[in-house]
Amino acid sequence: MRVGMSRYEMSRTSARPLAVTALLLIVVVPILIGGGALVRQLVDRGFGAELRVHQAQLDLGSVLNAQLDEETGVRGYAATGNRLFLAPYQHGRDDFAGSMAAVERDAAALQLDDRTAIADMRATNQRWQRLVAEPLLRNARDGDVIQLHGKALIDRFRLDADRVDTMIAARQALQDASTRAAIDRINLLVLVAVVAVSLAALGFGIVQTRTVQRLEAEERLAGELRVAYETERRVAETLQDAFLQRPLPTTASVSFSATYVPASEEAKVGGDWYDGVELSRGRVMFVIGDVAGHGLEAAVAMNRTRQALVQAAVLDADPASLLSRVNAELMRDRSRMVTAVCGYADSQNYVFTYATAGHPPPVLVEPGRAPRLLEFGGLPLAVMDSAVYRSHSVQTLPGAMLVLYTDGAVEHSRDVFEGEQRLLEAVASVCGGDPVEHVAAAIHARIFDGRAVGDDVAILTVSFAAPGDMRTGDRDASRIVAEGTRGGSASIGGTIVSLYDRVRRRRPPGVSEPRRIAS
């Protein structure tokens, strides 16, 4: 019967900071690249618009200069009649057409909404040519009147030019505003980039710090668990070793053999145990038991049950009342569930008397007969106050052997009948062959045949000496005395002393000295 220990898994999370940083970079880098391209586009556009505005202003200046040359030439010629003035006029006329076309192109490029002023400039200049310049150059009469009219037309022309200049200036202001906006965006983008990179660095730092802290905490916890686990295991093993190593008595008429093999997969101490105690000459008590679970708690419960059983064995000669007594004690202690078989071997009469509590049946082997399972029954100890136990007595022969075992010996396959069969065959095969002190180990070896053992297994054998084995001739093997189990009460006083001495002598380290039970 085993309880597995939960394993503490440590999670390694050092990959997480890298993931967080990678995620941040995946977000930040495209923002920076896209933002950079956008800013560049804005700057290019702003710079191009700046150039176009400047060009438009230059071209408008050229138009005004050309118009001024025309006017100067015409007025000079009209005032002096000197043909020398016709040169600036001609020069101005030549320039005017090209400059005006350039202004129209600039207006289109700058997408000026209102181009009527430009059209008006061209129309006004044409009217001036037709109505002022040409008549004056033909030396027409009424020159003063014509000149007055020309002044009005030129004023109108200049007014239109002013309007165009205003529109170009407005366009420039608009362009300046969008350039400022672009600069603002650049600033914003830089800010975002700085914040994002800072956050990434901060996040990385926090995650890394936490990871380091968690790893340290996990390591600390694992260390503590390891120490606690090791300590518990050591204590439990010490306890169990102390008990399992308690030597079994060797008497002339009754021999014990025993084996205990812990589960192979986990280095944990189980709750299986066995005991053999010589109570008086020719009379021994035997116990095998199993505390549910594993570890220190199971070892302590086992210790307690064991003490209780051995002490009660002194007061009671009846196995059933012994179990009832111990059950009451374990119920009071709120102990774990315990299964057990306990009993007495009476070598005077070759009688085994025993009782079982939630435990698989004992096996009896008699010379010349196949091994058989004995009667059993009764609830485990420490589960019910009102549990009732029954004693069974088996009259056997010299050379008879009782085999007691824990459930691991039959529940190794999930078919318990198969387990029983295997056990009986193993017992049959070792009978007579092996030296009596190795019988238990031999039975274990035959059952498991080198296979891994999934549960703890304890096996205890109690044998009456066969006539040929007898080292003392003080018994008549054929004598069968119908002495009741209470018949031994006469010797109980002596038994107590001998048991007390025995227990005290063999007291394992750390276990308190047994009290003398009766005076």
């Binding site: 019967m1 085993r2 309880v3 597995g4 199993d290 549910a292 679970g293 569930m337 299964t339 079982t356 509590a357 939630g358 435990h359 698989p360 049946p361 059993f376 029954g377 009764g378 609830l379 485990p380 589960v383 019910m384 549990a387 009732v388 459930d407 529940e411 999930r414 078919d415 318990v416 009948f417």
Partner: protein
């Protein structure tokens, strides 16, 4: 409690070992009713000492509340394990559902 009190059936299946301890613990909970309880283990082939111990604890609780319990067993192997544990002393054990129900309907615990 009258024979008409409603019956509670708790069914467990499979191999019940320490690994199923939590699940068994969750399944073996007494409801608020007062009727008899049938623990149907007809599809259980194995139970280790942990589960035996849980069954006994459940039985003690049920008894304290005056509720009648029957165990229904299917697998002979499992019946044998219950024999080992002496559960016949603590439970009415049946391998026939009809008999189990007749027992449960048969009056007060």
């Amino acid at each position: 409690m009258s024979p008409q009190s409603s019956l509670t059936v708790l069914k467990l299946t499979g191999e019940l070992d320490i690994a199923q301890r939590e699940a068994v613990q969750a399944a073996l909970q007494l409801d608020a009713g007062g009727g008899p309880v049938l623990i149907d283990l007809s599809e259980v082939s194995y139970a280790d000492s942990t589960v035996i111990s849980q069954l006994l604890r459940f039985r003690n609780e049920a008894e304290a509340r005056g509720r009648k319990i029957a165990l229904l067993i299917g697998s002979p192997q499992f019946r044998r394990l219950l024999q080992y544990a002496g559960l016949g002393d603590a439970f009415a054990v049946f391998d026939d559902r009809g008999r189990a129900l007749t027992f449960l309907a048969g009056g007060p615990a």
